[in-house]
């Protein structure tokens, strides 16, 4: 059985949602980021990058990086219809993934959530947090334009929506940002999906009212 290394409500939840959409059986193992377990010798043996998500396949090989694991799950579970097969949609999906991972998450949320990982000086934290929020909000504005009046980012439901869900959950439930209206509606649509509800439950999280 494949195994997902995760920590609740972090970017690994994108992979969790996709796994739940595919209906695959899988095991999971929590890597306590609060206790720095990602740096433990046992976990470094699994993933020397010291990050979650990490996805261990049945043959013992590991895939890292959210977009790579997502692509693997979508391509090997074609019946789940999680990625259109034309290359234009595939490319647009990657564009969304990279923007969420590289900019909104790494540049924005990382600053807003953990200013201490950029500076140990408390006096610097408010400005770091503010800049992080700025980057997240600008990013959500750009994705709001991508979404427009569609239900899902690339037309039909796809792995890109699971990627956005991670940011939405964090922005809404962890830091209480006000999101653009169509993104908020997308978040509610996500919360209505049984796979998303199962994903939250398996991470011990309460499904927010929607």
């Amino acid at each position: 059985m494949p195994k997902l290394y995760y920590w609740p409500a972090t970017c690994s939840i994108t992979v969790r949602v996709i796994l739940e959409e595919t209906g695959l059986s899988y095991e999971d193992e929590a890597v306590d980021l609060g206790a720095k377990k990602q740096q433990s010798p046992e976990f470094l043996k699994v993933n020397p990058k010291a990050k979650v998500p990490a996805y261990l396949r049945d043959d013992g090989s590991l895939i890292t990086e959210v977009p790579a694991i997502a692509l693997w799950l979508a391509l090997t579970n074609p019946d789940a219809n999680l990625l259109a097969s034309d290359y234009e949609t595939r490319v647009r999906t990657l564009e969304i993934f990279d923007y969420i991972a590289g900019t909104i998450h790494m540049q924005g949320a990382a600053r807003a959530w953990r200013p201490g990982s950029f500076s140990e000086t408390e006096a610097a934290h408010d400005a770091i947090r503010a800049r992080g929020k700025d980057i997240v909000m600008r990013g959500l504005d750009i994705l709001s334009q991508t979404l427009g009046d569609k239900d899902w980012l690339t037309g039909s439901y796809s792995i890109a929506d699971a990627s956005l869900f991670f940011i939405e959950y964090w922005a809404r439930e962890k830091v209480g940002y006000q999101m653009p209206a169509n993104i908020e509606a997308h978040y509610h649509r996500m919360l209505g999906r049984p796979a998303v509800q199962r994903a939250l439950a398996r991470e011990g999280l309460v499904v927010p009212a929607f």
């Binding site: 693997w72 290359y87 595939r90 900019t103």
Partner: protein, 206 residues
């Protein structure tokens, strides 16, 4: 003809190399970062993210984000074999590109080069840069291991090598940093490719 919005010495170098590998006509729109050209209204109308690489395609549509542009160019020029066609190869290409862009670039190098965007308190800057250095060192060591006994990251030459390439240029030409052995050999191999030579000449790294 597609147009690549490019600034010399930035990550868009890797896309320039891919366009050269393909060998079809393209144009370059040179972005003057010293004059903040990426924040001028004419460019923001094209790409509100204010980033390069930005690719304007033949039909006028705009594509952003390094891995997406690379994948588009590879998939639309299948005869050039710039990305594996099997699922495993495709996934490994994505994994390598994501690590280059989201971690080494966005977590590592941005701390080193754009330190002031983290805090204006200058006394904090050395520590932020040191953390950036830690991230790029760790990342490049992971790629070094992946290259053991191989010429190219995925076996055959691919877009993943072009992502690693722009980081190599940053280490060597812009950061004056040494590369681990397998990466150094990979960089030399890249420099022998005519596509890379054309990009270096264009950007003044010849």
């Amino acid at each position: 003809m597609p147009t690549l919005c490019h600034a010399a010495g930035t990550c868009s170098m890797g896309i320039h190399v891919i366009l050269e590998e393909i060998g079809k006509p393209y144009e370059i729109r040179k972005m003057d970062f010293a004059n903040q050209a990426q924040y001028k209204p004419d460019f923001m109308a094209i790409n509100p993210k204010s980033k390069v690489p930005t690719l304007i395609r033949d039909d006028g549509s705009v594509l952003t984000e390094w891995p997406a542009i690379a994948m588009f160019l590879a998939l639309s020029n299948p005869d050039k074999k710039l990305v594996p066609t099997d699922i495993e190869g495709m996934v490994r290409a994505q994994e390598a590109m994501a690590y280059c862009t989201a971690t080494l670039h966005m977590q590592g190098w941005t701390r080193i080069w754009r330190t002031v965007t983290y805090t204006e308190i200058e006394s904090e800057h050395p520590k932020i840069k040191a953390r950036g250095k830690e991230i790029i060192d760790k990342g490049i060591a992971i790629f070094d291991k992946q290259l053991t006994g191989k010429d190219w990251l995925l076996g055959d030459f691919s877009i993943a090598d072009c992502a690693l390439y722009f980081l190599e240029v940053w280490f060597v030409e812009r950061g004056n940093l040494a590369l681990p052995a397998n990466i150094a050999a990979h960089y030399e191999r890249m420099k022998q490719r005519p596509s890379v030579q054309a990009s270096r000449k264009y950007d003044g790294f010849a």
